[in-house]
């Protein structure tokens, strides 16, 4: 199993790569369009804004190869890697990849709880739909989050989390899985989740 971790030049990809390596995987950094071909599964960790991410992917001429890979290989998007799958985000005027026909919005404090933004820290992940990537992981476990924007609702939602509002903490559609939380920073349970991704058969 050869895993590729996308590096578009603005994201701390090392912790994801290290976590996957600790599970015994062969990991390559994918930072040019040609490197997508040789890998079996793709991980897209992201941080920063959707706009700057899309811009950087364009500068590196990686968008087309990324889209091809998203259509054909097991794909795991993490944090911004979940958000760029959407059509758009309130954060940026640049469009997302449009794989999911919905938009990303700023976290809303619907019950006036005076929440701090970004949502940073450990929070519960409620399993709404069964999925292989959560096999061996109990309901309402804590995962680590750092973000200010969310997907409020999507039909593809696998888990939800509450912070100011209920939002999509992970989603899946066919060969694509994406998490708002950081499995690579979520301790033993996060590693279990990544192991499930490594073993995921589509």
């Amino acid at each position: 199993m050869h895993l590729g971790v996308v590096d578009y030049g603005a994201s701390n990809i090392h912790s994801v790569a290290r976590a996957l390596q600790s599970l015994g995987s062969k990991v390559s950094i994918v930072d040019t369009p040609d490197k997508f071909k040789s890998i079996d599964k793709l991980v897209f960790p992201g941080q920063g804004s959707m706009g700057s991410c899309i811009k950087k992917l364009n500068e590196k001429e990686m968008i087309n190869s990324l889209m091809d890979a998203i259509k054909s290989k097991p794909f795991l998007g993490i944090c911004l890697g979940l958000q760029i799958l959407f059509n758009s985000s309130e954060e940026s005027k640049e469009k997302g990849l449009g794989v999911i026909n919905e938009s990303i919005t700023k976290i809303k404090d619907v019950n006036n709880e005076n929440i701090k933004i970004p949502h940073m820290g450990w929070n519960n992940v409620k399993i709404e739909k069964k999925h292989e990537l959560f096999s061996g992981i109990e309901d309402k476990q804590f995962f680590y989050f750092v973000h200010s924007f969310v997907a409020s609702s999507t039909e593809t939602s696998i888990t939800t989390t509450y912070y100011g509002e209920e939002f999509v903490s992970s989603l899946a559609t066919e060969n694509i899985f994406a998490t708002q939380f950081h499995p690579e920073k979520s301790g033993k349970i996060g590693l279990k989740f990544l192991e499930n991704f490594i073993n995921w058969k589509i």
């Binding site: 701390n12 912790s15 976590a19 600790s22 701090k116 450990w122 804590f142 912070y163 920073k185």
Partner: protein
């Protein structure tokens, strides 16, 4: 459901070894940092913090090798501090595996570093660390690992840090550090009431009730301690159970 109160064991490191002193003095050796970090991760630590305690004093940069060694074995958020002077230092630490950097002395000498680093890497990875000591009605800020007194008021400095773009404040009470006599809850309450970013309380943990009180009375978002966890006087799990009993959300 709210965010879990974070328990953060701190590794005070000097020359690649864990050390611990009382009131910033009388340093003793306490083991290998990566081994300690691994143990804390297994015991349920929510983050790991590593402070290179001599780095700013002896003008040397933080031990990159130790950072790499910890980051390759521990998969929870990892903060590194000590001797950070420039964006280049921050870049190197983040690339070596730190998720956040904690900046103390150099932020006082050059407050722009907080603003620039926050813009470049995001507020979530910039922690402003402050060493404070009570002087009459106010808390004074000290630099260089508690060696030099400044005229800065700790609460005002923390507020300024928040405005500059710090994502969290790590406040160490020098009066309490290493004494095991409880946290300076007045300091943390004052801080929490004045800030909208999370406050990490540090210095003075000796008993279970001290840690609970820092959250209950001091309204701290996270608790940092070194020796009680290092010498296994109190387990991380016990702290979390005690917090849970008091109705606080914890990750157990």
């Amino acid at each position: 459901m709210s965010l879990a109160v974070r328990i953060i064991p701190c590794l005070d490191v000097r020359g690649g070894r864990v050390v611990k002193g009382i009131n910033f003095k009388d340093i003793v050796d306490a083991g290998d940092p990566a081994e300690a970090a691994k143990r804390y991760d297994a015991e349920g630590a929510d983050e790991i913090c590593m402070l290179d305690i001599d780095a700013s004093f002896e003008e040397r940069s933080t031990t990159i090798e130790t950072v790499k060694s910890i980051a390759s074995q521990v998969f929870i958020p990892f903060t590194v501090g000590g001797g950070i002077k420039s964006l280049k230092d921050i870049d190197m630490l983040l690339k070596s595996g730190a998720d956040k950097v904690s900046i103390n002395t150099s932020a006082i000498l050059n407050p722009d570093i907080i603003e620039e680093a926050s813009k470049e890497y995001g507020a979530q990875c910039i922690v402003l660390a402050i060493d404070a000591k009570k002087d009459g009605e106010i808390w004074n800020v000290y630099t260089h690992g508690g060696k030099n007194k400044t005229e800065l008021d700790a609460i005002e400095w923390a507020k300024k840090g928040q405005d500059l773009g710090a994502g969290e404040i790590l406040m160490t009470s020098m009066d309490k550090d290493g004494t095991k006599s409880g946290f300076d809850n007045n300091l943390y309450l004052e801080l929490s009431n004045n800030l909208s970013i999370p406050v990490i309380a540090s210095g003075g943990a000796g008993e279970l009730s001290h840690l609970v009180d820092a959250v209950k009375i001091g309204k701290a978002d996270a608790l940092l301690a070194a020796s009680i966890f290092h010498y296994e006087e109190i387990s991380i799990k016990k702290v979390k159970q005690a917090l849970q009993t008091e109705g606080f959300e914890v990750r157990l």
